[in-house]
Symmetry: C2
Subunit: 394 residues, 2 copies
């Protein structure tokens, strides 16, 4: 009667959403203070003040028809110029405003990019652990996602990547800082990946694109630097979102930036415009385009996340959990004290702890903890983590 695949994807909620809904029910029954919800990646830090002043400025302008009217499909030219200038001043890379395409968030940016690139028979490669919707987005184009198995430290496993990439690989998706591990790929490993891709591109006689999903770019700790890929490789497509850096995930504003050095960059841009049209994206929300003129350079507020990170990492390690220390994003991966992370996640529920099992992230045996929550909730959750751990000592 309906499209069976859409029905399946709509009725089987993602494991994250399932946990989130369970948490709401539990809170209704037991009280909100008995639930420690670490399931969702919804920023807990308010948007920087400049977001509000900029919205205020925009709505006080005399011409509301221009403000709320359509922009061109690619986004307003002055906004694209401001983004290119930000890329130049922050990373020294030469971005071209006419190769930037504003999107309805990073998910749209990825869907559009994959659809623009994909030809019959193509596959896309990513590194485990990875954001599970990559599978949905890649399969939506009619191609397959091939995850490179996880390396113990959650850096990229390049030895395995060399085996997974083949002549039909159109692109490699990387996500650093990473969801779910919080890993930031080192400059050394980025260089090695780019060398691998250059060699493979030569070998197969076609470019392999490096698709950089980087909504967490600014969420980094201990002064660590995230290498800007356009400075290391030519065939780069950046998929960015202001969801996390400006705490605007619900407003759906991001962009695609094609490296001006990319093979046939202008033609790829046309394909991006076509894919945006086919997927029904008329333009990115216009008010939130306009505020970027004031906000592109606003620094992300990472202090609260860092405080959470330190507390959680040190406390859980002290309790006895095996944790992967995050360098960025607001996720912490913890090894389940039993082989099956789903069983561990289920047991954790009994203590009010909502931890996402890592299987769909390509990280079986681990759970993901989103620490974009209140510091207070983390403090209150620690006895529950301790009690949960104790059940494994018996």
């Amino acid at each position: 009667m309906f499209n069976e695949k859409m029905h399946r994807l709509g009725s089987n909620r993602s494991v994250i959403r399932e946990l989130f809904e369970f948490g709401k029910q539990l809170a209704a029954k037991e009280g909100a203070d008995k639930v420690y919800d670490f399931s969702l990646g919804n920023p807990s830090v308010p948007a920087p003040a400049v977001v509000k002043t900029s919205i205020q400025k925009q709505i006080d302008l005399p011409n509301s028809t221009a403000l709320h009217g359509y922009s061109s499909a690619q986004g307003d030219p002055d906004v694209r110029k401001a983004i290119a200038a930000h890329i130049k001043s922050s990373f020294g890379a030469e971005a071209d405003p006419d190769l930037i395409y504003l999107t309805v968030g990073a998910a749209a940016a990825l869907c559009i990019t994959l659809k623009a690139l994909r030809e019959e028979g193509d596959n896309f490669v990513c590194f485990a652990p990875f954001f599970p919707e990559y599978t949905v987005f890649t399969e939506a184009t009619g191609s397959a996602l091939r995850p490179v198995p996880m390396q113990k430290d959650c850096q990229m496993n390049l030895e395995e990547a060399a085996k997974v990439i083949d002549k039909n690989t159109k692109g490699v998706i990387i996500n650093s800082p990473n969801n779910p591990s919080g890993a930031v790929y080192s400059e050394e490993s980025i260089k090695a990946l780019c060398a691998l891709l250059s060699n493979k591109s030569k070998e197969y006689g076609h470019p392999i694109f490096l698709i950089s999903d980087e909504p967490y770019r600014e969420i980094v700790y201990d002064g660590i630097k995230v290498p800007y890929l356009m400075n290391y490789y030519d065939d780069v497509v950046v998929c960015y979102s202001y969801s996390k850096s400006l705490s605007l995930p619900g407003e759906r504003i991001g962009y695609i930036a094609i490296d001006p050095k990319a093979t046939m960059a202008q033609e790829l841009y046309y394909a991006v415009c076509g894919a945006g049209r086919v997927l029904g994206y008329v333009c990115a929300p216009h008010l939130f385009q306009r505020i970027l003129l004031d906000c592109v350079d606003a620094p992300a507020d990472v202090e609260a996340y860092d405080k959470n990170r330190k507390l959680l990492y040190s406390s859980l390690t002290e309790i006895g959990y095996d944790c992967i220390k995050p360098q960025g994003a607001f996720y912490l991966m913890v090894r389940a004290p039993e082989p099956d992370a789903n069983a561990f996640s289920d047991r954790a529920k009994n203590f009010g702890l909502l931890l996402v099992p890592g299987d769909t992230f390509g990280a079986p045996g681990f759970v993901r903890i989103s620490y974009c929550v209140s510091y207070d909730m983390i403090v209150r959750s620690l006895p529950a983590f301790k009690a949960l751990f104790a059940t494994y000592a018996k």
Copy 2:
């Protein structure tokens, strides 16, 4: 190298966008006052005052993380409830908040609905004249769009529809008030269409869905009523947008409402959720979801459009043009004084008049005039229309 179809769709702009870009160049060369741009459907009436006060209210709330955070994929429950209440109070139809899905505008609503419904071999039917992106959206699902040929008065040609609909027809798209004709389908013709669809559904043993693309619902003149489809048929899916009624086209906010009486409505809703996920729509822009709580009942300001309509229709008719009198929306269809509307549109450019040829709308021999422009521009354009018409008398 890239997806060839996406490249083609991205490099060949729609005929509307082509004209719009030409107009910008002409204005730069000849002066903006020499260009009469009737190409785009970008509302010229400002958003009602309640939009600004509501945005103000929202950004003044203490909790900006909730305001700008993710909503559930379907949209906030209280917003969906407000929309259902509006449907009930305005049209007397029983909408169910849990069968409403907020979207990034009407284009997204249509793309999602078509993708949710479409099974292998399906086709979709629409009535000429029709919005050309229907072809793009339908083909994106892998199915075909079958337009029913235009009837002289731009009402639905039901005799032809009976021939076009076949056993593989999954849905019929209707758009009333209509873009590009401004026609509002009469209650009589809606009843006849519903009877036809009921019979065909019975004959073929599966429901044929009625997909109502209705962004212009409130833009009607002379007190005319737009029949609400849920009151006439069971298998209805409404695709609505606030783009025109609230003059917010750039903010991308609309919804899908599935008729609670529809066959397996809950299952269809799941398929809608799945299709939204696959197309990369995480949620509708949250700030603009929230303002709907204040704005769902705001009346559209149609006075300015009506003034434009009357001036244009009477003036062009007086000059000698053959016009189809619009009952709604802000478009006027005019018969080209020569068989080829493209040639007419080209000739019109010499007079600074940007008129969209109707071929891609399924209305060859006609041009579309968007009169969501300033009254003053219409007044100034009339001598150009007269001079253009005079060239055909020679």
